[in-house]
């Protein structure tokens, strides 16, 4: 492949340009030798995300099994308040949108827009967490904490595990903002940001599953 062809596929300001490309583009499929870092890092992180999804699926399976094990306590239909959850969902989905804006800003090397979009992402994530903590505290206050029944144990573990992921994501987000501020748009920082954005979007996907399986189905059964 000639250099001009590579330039066509990989314009320098493209979102895909995440590191110094080797002279010959290699995808790692065997013919061209080891793939460049920009591909390897994202690929490895995808595999991590898949493993994370497997972990969530164990919690989902447990929730499905223990769903009816209320031990005489309150059931899903009696407990869940869709209003609160809808605002939570809106916050998280919006935060994915601002995270996407940040990706574009990073690709264009816009410092201020990057920081603003990331700040918005973080605030929306915080709002989500606050609402979740509020919901959990309300449940515990009315005697429907995780110790009440196996159903509530599995509910708190599944939703709480997602919440812990969001918390970790916020910590990462803050670190990321500091790194952009201190190091600029260096290729390694941009690769790291790619991983962060993948992580954040994945949390969204998992939340959609939680929203559907736990809340929507729970309220209507």
């Amino acid at each position: 492949m000639s250099t001009s062809e590579i330039a066509l596929i990989r314009p320098s300001s493209s979102v895909l340009d995440l590191g110094s490309a080797p002279p010959r583009e290699a995808t790692g499929h065997g013919e061209g030798g080891p793939a460049p870092k920009s591909i390897v890092v994202g690929y490895g992180f995808w595999i991590f995300l898949l493993s994370d999804i497997v972990m969530f699926s164990a919690f989902f399976a447990t929730y499905a099994v223990l769903n009816g094990a209320t031990a005489g306590g309150p059931s899903a239909a009696q407990l869940f308040d869709l209003h609160n959850v809808q605002i939570e969902t809106a916050c998280l989905l919006l935060s994915s949108f601002t995270c996407g804006i940040a990706s574009l800003a990073v690709a264009q090397h816009y410092h201020r827009l990057t920081q603003l979009a990331l700040l918005a992402t973080g605030l929306l994530g915080l709002a989500f967490l606050a609402l979740e903590v509020h919901e959990f505290a309300g449940l515990v206050a009315q005697g429907a904490g995780p110790s009440r029944s196996a159903f509530l144990s599995s509910f708190f573990a599944l939703v709480g595990c997602h919440g812990v992921h969001v918390t970790a994501g916020l910590l990462w987000l803050g670190t990321m903002m500091a790194q952009f501020y201190a190091k600029g748009f260096r290729p390694d920082i941009r690769r790291r940001y790619l991983c962060f954005s993948l992580f954040w979007h994945t949390l969204d996907i998992i939340w959609v599953a939680i929203f559907t399986i736990v809340y929507l189905i729970g309220v209507h059964t």
Partner: protein, 665 residues
């Protein structure tokens, strides 16, 4: 201030753990003092502890596995001798101590012997076979190793501080719930496994990415050595199965720490769900261990038969079939749950189906040897011993895969004999074959063959003497984990089994002597060309030990046995291929990130076990700070100049040219 930790945690009233721990502690102290006095600390820190070189990390994994093998084997000897003497008697081990020993034995042998040995081998060999310079994420590799080591340390600390789990190597609830196991034993187990499990997951992600994305030019999937294929299958299983273990253990932790009710008897908890979840991880885990061993045997059999592996493609298909099927058999570990005839029937048939690809593999090895010029080296001894032993274990496995038979044999010593037949005869023999085979690659000299074969025969004979009686006594109705018994017909078999364990002990002693003697006489055993066994795959194309960058120039792969092709060409042409143009090589810089992270992870685990909350908080902050410091680095790589690369490569080329001229002379 120190949570539940008081002086009562030290078992002053139990002489056996106290004295043995004191002896081990003194030995560790002596080694540390010796290291400090000799001034080896800076060397160890610079070259090993902070190393991100996959070869160094691979060696450290194997060293950890060998050390833990000693610990696990001492546990085994204690159990065998307890059962040998505890006929109509109490024996010398109190029940609560005996229960800790069998739990520790299983935990250590699976998680801290078999796992690190296999991951260590993959780490060392696989990048060399793929013809590349490192794994995809060198620093994560170091983090993964040190987290595994931190988990191993926690398990061993439990010998002196507190106690270990008494609930078996898989802590089935409700026994493992707080109500029935209020001590710290289960917590030691859980936190040690959570920490080392994260390490395993990290290395699984890393190794999968390495195989799928970083291979030498021309190394298509259809050309990858079988060991790399089995490594790929095993690491895919790690990525897919270990998160289930993490989730399951997390649920048990929530039950124990925060009064959740996943697996309790009351409030709707479901103990059988733990059993299902843990085996959804546990059965793939069996294949995570055995598949790399299959790969190692394939390389050994092919090299020492002087032939390409018979049926390469069928071997690949068999490996990947096992990889998928391993997720469809978990219920055969508990047919007695009572899931009904249809469910049990399905899992029984699936368990028999998985024997088919395994059988394909055995025939492939046999046909590789057929009409080959077989050299019976020590490594080949292990391979042939494996084939015989493993087939026996496979057949008893098919027996227990029949649900009605399993109702009789469940939890009997027949089952114990079966899985030791697979794990010793398969995984451990594979590890030892690989150890003999790749040792000269890692250290530049061969191990003593005569002592190696003597060790093999002790292990081989010892295995049969120790475990065939357990099959028999299991058929006589003896269940596992008995601290004492009063059945006269069991006693003679258990005495024979004790003798078998002692023969295996001789094998281990001979291996220690072999290592010691070989190191002492290493100058005589030195192997200069880098091709110790007339090998066929790329790891033999570089010097022994390989330089930091593995290959001066990435090899260009043209077939399934690239090194064999290069070698034939050189021998025919009576000269090496022309000297390549050397270029500077970037190598990742060493970093203490892995070590420091594991340091904090160890204290996090210890603090959580003993409810020392402030320490847990500090350790978490420490681990996070370590990552931030690492993320802030500005220089990630060092450059080795073209001159230095040329200098290193030329000396190996000279040795090979000399060997070539000797062939023709």
């Amino acid at each position: 201030m120190l949570g539940k930790l008081t002086w009562q945690a030290i078992p002053f009233d139990q002489p056996i753990p106290l004295y043995s721990a004191a002896a081990v502690g003194l030995m560790v102290m002596a080694v540390l003092v010796w290291v400090v006095v000799k001034g080896y600390v800076p060397y160890l820190w610079r070259e090993w502890i902070t190393s991100v070189d996959h070869k160094r990390i691979g060696v450290m994994y194997c060293v950890l596995a060998l050390l833990m093998l000693l610990r696990g084997f001492i546990d085994a000897l204690m159990m065998r001798s307890q059962q040998a003497v505890a006929f109509h008697a109490a024996g010398y081990l109190a029940p609560e101590h005996y229960n800790q020993i069998f739990s520790a034995h299983g935990t250590i042998m699976i998680f801290f012997v078999a796992m690190p040995f296999m991951i260590g081998l993959i780490n060392y060999v696989m990048p060399l076979q793929l013809g590349v310079r490192d794994v995809a994420f060198p620093t994560l590799n170091s983090v993964g190793f040190w987290l595994t080591a931190a988990g191993a340390l926690l398990v061993n600390i439990s010998l002196v501080v507190g106690e270990f789990s008494r609930a078996g190597w898989l802590p089935y609830p409700p026994l493992s719930e707080l109500q029935y196991s209020p001590g710290v034993g289960i917590d030691y187990y859980l936190w040690a496994l959570q920490i080392s499990g994260v390490g395993t997951l990290i290395s699984g992600i890393n190794l999968v990415t390495t195989i799928l994305k970083t291979r030498a030019p021309g190394m298509r999937y259809g050309r990858m050595p079988i060991f790399c294929w089995t490594a790929l299958a095993a690491n895919l299983l790690i990525v897919a199965a270990f998160p289930i273990l993490t989730a399951t253990l997390a649920m048990l932790l929530l039950d124990r720490y925060l009064d959740f009710h996943f697996f309790t008897n009351e409030a709707g908890g479901n103990p059988m769900m733990f059993v299902n979840l843990i085996w959804a991880w546990g059965h793939p885990e069996v294949y995570i261990l055995i598949l790399p061993a299959f790969g190692a045997f394939s390389e050994v059999v092919s090299t020492f038969s002087g032939k390409p592996l018979f049926g390469y493609r069928s071997m690949v298909v068999a490996t990947m079939t096992i990889c998928v099927l391993s997720f469809m058999v978990w219920l055969h570990h508990f047919f007695t749950m009572g899931a009904g005839a249809d469910v049990n029937g399905f899992f029984g048939i699936m368990s028999m189906v998985i024997a088919v690809p395994t059988g394909v593999k055995v025939f492939n090895w046999l046909f590789t040897m057929y009409r080959g010029r077989v050299r019976f080296s020590a490594a080949m001894h292990w391979a042939v011993g494996f084939m015989v032993t493993f087939v026996i274990g496979g057949m008893t496995g098919v027996l227990v895969a029949v649900p009605p038979a399993d109702f009789v044999l469940h939890n009997s010593l027949f089952l114990v004999a079966h899985f030791h037949n697979m794990v010793i005869g398969g995984v451990l023999f594979g590890a030892f074959a690989a150890y003999e085979y790749w040792f000269p690659k890692a250290f530049g000299f061969k191990l003593d063959e005569r002592l190696g074969k003597a060790a093999f025969w002790c292990w081989f004979v010892g295995f049969y003497v120790a475990f065939i009686p357990l099959y028999a006594v299991g058929l006589l109705g003896m269940t596992r984990r008995l601290q004492h018994y009063d059945q006269p017909q069991w006693h003679p078999w258990l005495l024979v089994a004790e003798a078998g364990a002692l023969i295996i002990f001789c094998g281990i002693a001979l291996q220690a002597v072999q290592l010691f003697v070989s190191i002492r006489s290493r100058r005589r055993r030195v192997e200069v060309t880098g091709d110790a066994w007339d090998g066929r795959t790329l790891e033999w194309a570089t010097s022994s030990p390989p330089p930091l960058f593995n290959f001066a120039v990435l090899p260009n792969v043209k077939g399934t046995e690239p090194y064999w092709g290069m070698k034939r060409k050189a021998i025919e042409a009576m000269q090496l291929s022309p000297e390549p143009t050397y270029e500077p090589i970037e190598v990742p810089r060493n970093t203490p990130t892995g070590f420091v992270t594991a340091f904090f992870a160890f204290f996090l685990g210890f603090a959580l076990i003993w409810h020392i909350w402030w320490l847990a908080g500090l350790a978490l902050i420490g681990a996070y700070a370590t990552f931030v410091v690492f993320a802030w680095r500005d220089v990630a790589e060092n450059v080795i100049s073209a001159d230095e690369v040329a200098h290193i490569d030329r000396s190996n080329r000279a040795a090979r040219a000399l060997a070539l001229s000797e062939i023709h002379a």
